[in-house]
Every structure is written in structure tokens, then in C-alpha cells.
Amino acid sequence: MDAPTAFRQQLLGVIPSLRRYARSLVFDSHAADDLVQTALERALAHWHQFDQRRDILVWTISIAHNAYIDERRRHARASLVEPSEGFDPDASHPAPGNDIGLQLDLIKALGRLSLEQREVLLLVTLEQLSYAECAEALRIPIGTVMSRVSRGRIALRALLDGKDAMPPQGTLRRVV
């Protein structure tokens, strides 16, 4: 059975937020939209698993998260550059201006956070998910959300202050 119109409407409604989330994970806008597309396809294929009492954004973010992890695994052996390494702010020749410089520093710093910290920090600050929703989307305990947000904040600030004390990249877990 195909997904009903109402479900498709709901999906349309979350596309802007999904695109922002994806952009914050992979930075490159085309790669980000490919990720959104993959997430939408998966959501449509599994629409009947969506419990209407849940928040569709949390559900689709969870799907996009898994898609991203899968993609990284798939490309791991193909020696894909990390998004943070692939993103070269100098290559984009920005117009002079304080804000743009600041944003590039910020995005660069963001890219150097471990994925675990970055993702939690983004879900809480950008998507404004509660810790409980964030825990649901990533299938991790609330306490873990809490400590990752906090460590992510500290690490981001340290990077922006020019201190470079990054913890090694943690292991990733796919949410099933």
C-alpha cells in the first residue's frame, strides 16, 4: 500500500528542517540534499511504521541519521574525506566581511567536532529538540544527550578560541 496523501503532506512540511539538519552534517548542499532524498525515500517506504502520536520531524531525523551513518560506512573503505576535511573555506573566496569570516570559522570548527557531539548539539540548538526527543531520534539515553551537548559546547568554544584539543572521533552507532 502506498503512503497516504496526509503522510506525504507531513513529509513535505519537514523538508526545510531536514535540509538544514543534513547541511549541518555534510555541509555540501548537493550531498546534503542527496541525504534528504534518501531519508524521504526510506520514510515513504516505511510510512506505516510511523506512529502518528510521535513527532514526524524526530522520526525523519532518526532516519536521516541512519542514512548518514550507512553512507559513511559504505564510503569508509573508499577513503572518502571527512566532511570537515573536504570543506575548504578558502576555496569559496568569500566577500570580505566579518560575519562571513565568523561563519566560516564556525562551520569549520563545527566540522571538527566528533559526529556524536556535533549531531546532538545541532539537534538541540538548531532543531530545538528537547533532550528527550533527541534521545528518541538517536536512540541513546537522555543522560548521554545531556553530556554530549555539554561536551560539544565546550569543544566548539575551545576551537573558536583557537585551542585545539579535540578528543578522538568516537565510534558511531547505527540506530535500528
Binding site: M1, D2, T5, A6, R8, Q9, Q10, L11, L12, G13, I15, P16, S17, R19, R20, R23, S24, D33, V36, Q37, T38, L40, E41, R42, L44, A45, H46, H48, Q49, N66, D70, R74, L102, Q103, L106, I107, L110, L121, L122, V124, T125, L126, S130, Y131, M146, S147, V149, S150, R151, R153, I154, L156, R157, L160, V176
Partner: protein, 277 residues
């Protein structure tokens, strides 16, 4: 609080995740410890910078390929084998036996609406708001049509003139309206439903409803009068230009009606627009 709150607690305070008592303790601590307060302010500023850097994505026009994906019938067209294998494993794991029906799906061409679904984000939000509130039986609107302040309230909040359009000639009466959040500010939804002929009142099924979504448009929104079909929903949208007494207003009329019927309603609204002389 006698002992210093740790960073986890300070961070949770920023996110409003602490119970009232703990919150008060952290606030008391921050008042007396300017260094910690400065750190917390820096974290909050970083969060604002993150939003400033990435929020503009929300207002970008959604790529047509994505809206087409949403309207495509049948199973997703999997781009490559590795993906397909993973998807299959995922399906087997999660679905178990329930997947059988899925095998009968056939890929079909995208529906007609998909190809035209290039509207900007706010039009999508109009469609979503329609789908969310139209089925409501008890609380379809926030403020009922009878209340005089509806128009004044929405006008004040939207910063665009909100007129309660009279669509009775077209067979629709106003139910009321509500204020809705949009990506770049508030928007309003006016709901109308088909006037039921006397005598047929309670026997009739759910009355037909249409909604009018109004907002202050982005600069990027084209002023042209456009039509779009999304599944069973039809949408007319346009932007009324600036006039002597008001700025531009974006309109989207949404309803599961035949196109000509919806067009008659759109034209009635267009004629009654408050910015026209």
C-alpha cells in the same frame, strides 16, 4: 548551591531542561560567579551563531527533486545496489512478515502534481496547515468567525491587512481563523466550509472545507497567480502587491476541490483584497 554546578548542568540550564528547583540554584550560582556566567553566555552566543549560519537553509526553495520524491507512487527508486541491500536488510529486520504486500508495489511515473511542485516553502506550509486543521471537529479554529476582533488581531500580528473574505456567494462561510508560526514570522489561516442547505444539516458527512493562508511574503516569492496540485489538494497562490495603505501580502488558497471551483473562490478573494481600491 554550595558546590559548583558542573558543565553538564550549566548546559542543561541553557536548554531549559532543568526542574524548577535546580534551575533556581543554577541561576543563583551564576549571579554570584561572573566567570561561569560569562562561559554560559559564550555558549549561548555560539548557539545563536549556529542558527544564524544555518537557518537560512529553511527559507531556500525546496529542490523540485525532493518534492517529487515525496509525491512519487510505488516503492522508492533505489539509486544503487549497496543502498538497496541495506534497505532490504532494514526492511526485513523491522517489518518481518509484514513486508509481503510491498512486493506487489510497482514503480509508476511521478504523479502530475509532483512535476509542478516547485512552490516555495511557505506554500508547502499552507498545505500542511490545511491538512492538519481541516479534519478537526471540535477545534478547527482558534478564534470563531463571530468574534469581531479576529480580523484586527490577525492584522496586528501579521503586519499585513487581514480581511475576512465573504465567500457566501460561492457557497462557503467563514468558520474562523488561527495564528500560525512560519519560518520567518507569523502567518494566519482562515477556514471556510461549504454552507449546508437547510434540512440536510446533521445527515451530511463532513462539510467541505477550504483554507486561506496569509503571510508577509519573502522577497523571492513570485507575484504571479499560480496553481499547483498536491495529491487531492489543489492550491492557488499569489502575492498582492504593495499599495498606498499596505505592504505586499502572500495568499495561498488550499482545498480538496475541483480546480474550477477552487478558482472561483480564489477570484472572489482576489477581488475582495483589502489593498485593492
Amino acid at each position: 548551591m554550595n558546590t559548583a554546578p558542573d558543565d553538564t548542568l550549566l548546559s542543561a540550564w541553557i536548554d531549559g531542561e532543568l526542574p524548577a528547583e535546580q534551575r533556581a540554584e543554577v541561576e543563583a550560582w551564576l549571579r554570584e560567579h561572573p566567570d561561569d556566567a560569562a562561559r554560559v553566555r559564550a555558549w549561548s552566543a555560539d548557539a545563536r551563531s549556529l542558527r544564524a549560519a544555518l537557518d537560512p537553509v529553511l527559507d531556500e526553495t525546496v529542490p523540485v527533486a525532493l518534492t517529487q520524491t515525496v509525491w512519487r507512487k510505488g516503492p522508492a527508486l533505489l539509486p544503487n545496489l549497496g543502498w538497496a541491500r541495506l534497505a532490504a536488510a532494514f526492511a526485513l529486520f523491522v517489518l518481518g512478515g509484514a513486508v509481503g504486500a510491498g512486493l506487489m508495489w510497482r514503480a509508476q511515473a511521478p504523479v502530475a502534481g509532483g512535476a509542478a511542485a516547485s512552490a516555495s516553502g511557505w506554500v508547502q506550509r499552507a498545505a500542511v496547515a490545511h491538512s492538519v486543521y481541516v479534519p478537526e471537529v471540535r477545534h478547527p479554529v482558534e478564534v470563531r468567525a463571530q468574534e469581531e476582533h479576529l480580523s484586527r488581531w490577525l492584522t496586528r500580528r501579521l503586519d499585513v491587512p487581514v480581511k475576512l473574505f465573504d465567500l457566501r456567494e460561492q457557497g462557503f462561510e467563514l468558520v474562523g481563523g488561527r495564528l500560525l508560526p512560519d519560518a520567518s514570522g507569523p502567518s494566519a489561516q482562515l477556514m471556510y466550509q461549504a454552507i449546508t442547505p437547510p434540512g440536510a444539516a446533521s445527515a451530511a458527512a463532513k462539510p467541505e472545507r477550504v483554507t486561506v493562508y496569509l503571510r508577509k511574503p519573502d522577497d523571492a516569492t513570485p507575484a504571479a497567480f499560480r496553481y499547483e496540485q498536491q495529491g487531492e489538494l489543489g492550491l492557488f497562490y499569489w502575492v498582492e502587491g504593495k499599495s498606498a495603505n499596505s505592504g505586499p501580502t502572500g495568499y495561498a488558497l488550499v482545498g480538496a476541490l475541483p480546480r474550477d471551483k477552487l478558482l472561483a473562490l480564489a477570484e472572489a478573494i482576489y477581488r475582495q483584497d483589502p489593498s485593492r481600491p
